[in-house]
Amino acid sequence: MRAMVYRGPYRIRVEEKEMPRIEHPNDAIVRVTKAAICGSDLHIYHGMMPDTRVGQTFGHEFIGVVEEVGPSVQSLKRGDRVMVPFNIFCGSCFFCARQLYANCHNVNPNATAVGGIYGYSHTTGGYDGGQAEFVRVPFADVGPSLIPEWMDEEDALMLTDACPTGYFGAQLGEIQEGDVVVVFGAGPVGLFAAKSSWLMGAGRVIVIDHLDYRLEKAREFAHAETYNFAEYDDIVVHMKKITDYLGADVAIDAVGAEADGAFFQHVTAAKLKLQGGSPVALNWAIDSVRKGGTIAVVGAYGPLFSSIKFGDAMNKGLTIRANQTSVKRHWPRLFEHVKNGILKPSDIVTHRIPLEHIAEGYHMFSSKLDNCIKPIVVPN
């Protein structure tokens, strides 16, 4: 089969690879019909995540058609159209029994600090991902769901990660009616976080980024008030000014490991890999939110240390809430919102790329060319 493979930082190519096979009785093999490149894929593409091995296939956002099922699979059969959450989870461990699917303890031997994720280094279990023609899907009775007849395929694809993650970010913020919410990052997750903040009753939603075309999308898609931090000497001071010197009630970090805005922090983290992630957005969140406020972190960071301004967080009495999203837990509600027209996740898709051109797709997304917000990969 054809699959994208990692060759080293900033380098990938498409190769002929062995077909995945059933390795566990509850596995399924899925023929990928659409995959997406996630902003967090860029962290492994840039070599920031420890134990990212040459030859691995990336891709944790994908949908497809069931090609083969293991002997114990009961809920799926060959030919079913499925959407697969980015989490790999067993459904029966201590954490899954409490609906913390993202924290499953039975699928990642390499680390206990993170669950299993498709195509996201060995730190998340060493599974190949979906930017390929076929992919192995463990626990087929637990993870994937049939794509409802009425649902658009690109909407289904966005529901495998970006949309639930943004929605979960707004939930982590524990938004109450009328709250002022600031979202750092106008990428796919930030856009969904801003949109979801309104659904939870926010009174004002502010989005911060440095890419004008993304801020424009935030205004149009998420009805947000936007600021380009590159235009301000100090975005934190500006945040205080526009909130009458109080600060926002809730801040959402939807940027993660490659946050920009402070040259030293970005270069030591993203280029030199001396930190688990650039903490610029998180530090801005800590400083922008009001005392007693809440910070939600859904931007992805690596396991190494980062220079977080924890003293400020402590002295301000902040609540910091963070996790990977347990995607499937959110599907019933999000399906409802998509069906009712409240959410149209595929509105953020900007590019559709054949698998054979995926190297250019990654470069475009990484270098922010051609107003790219969300690229989709089509294997065939």
């Binding site: 459904g91 309104w198 939870m200 280029k271 250019e360 990484s366 051609d370």
Partner: protein
């Protein structure tokens, strides 16, 4: 203002927000949100029909964190450890996740893996091509110049470093090759000079 007890928050009137934002407040009820409470115990919801999953066959000694009691019943089988990078990885997995050395060794193994794979690719007759693999073609097909020129983008300050990072393995390999050739050449020269010395000089 926060300097007095009564501080009307800096936001538009809620009536206006409700009128203009589609779907405003549909998930306002905190208790009715899908992730609330954070831990909701119900093992019957997931579709799992086992108490503990059947174990996947382990075809090679699978590296695992010492913070796990045993190998997890299911695991990924992509890219088994190999070569020098594999040895470093196996050593790293003897250290706990709380140690920075665990992660730094894994990062080091990643860099060694890149060099090993470059050599292997040459031997297999399919050498790496940094130009195609880094997708530079997109600079011409996806408006590389227009996406940057006149834009107030802070990432433009450090983007040139990306080129250096891509070129680094080749620069290092080139330097090592050059240094090796020079030292080999130096040794040969010395030997020849010694042979040309007139007898009886020592």
């Amino acid at each position: 203002m926060p300097y007095t007890a009564d501080w009307p928050r800096a936001r538009p009137p809620l009536e206006e927000v409700k009128r203009t934002i589609p779907g405003w407040g549909v998930d306002k009820d905190f208790k009715d949100r899908p992730a609330v409470p954070m831990e909701r115990f119900d093992p019957t919801l997931t579709g799992a029909h086992w108490d503990f999953p059947e174990r996947q066959v382990e075809y090679w000694p699978r590296e695992r964190s010492p913070e796990h009691k045993f190998l997890t019943p299911v695991f990924g089988t992509a890219c088994p450890p190999r070569g020098l990078s594999g040895m470093i990885r196996k050593y790293a997995y003897r250290l706990g996740e709380g140690k920075s050395s665990h992660w730094l060794l894994l990062m080091a193994a990643d860099r060694v893996d890149v060099v090993e794979s470059m050599v292997e690719a040459v031997l297999q007759g399919r050498p790496d091509n940094p130009l195609t693999e880094s997708g530079l073609k997109a600079e011409f097909t996806r408006d590389g110049l227009g996406s940057r020129l006149g834009k107030n983008r802070v990432d433009l300050k450090h983007q040139p470093l990306d080129l250096l990072l891509v070129a680094a393995p080749w620069l290092i390999a080139g330097y090592v090759g050059f240094a090796a050739a020079r030292s080999l050449g130096g040794k040969k020269k010395k030997r020849r000079r010694r042979e040309l010395q007139p007898a009886g000089r020592y």
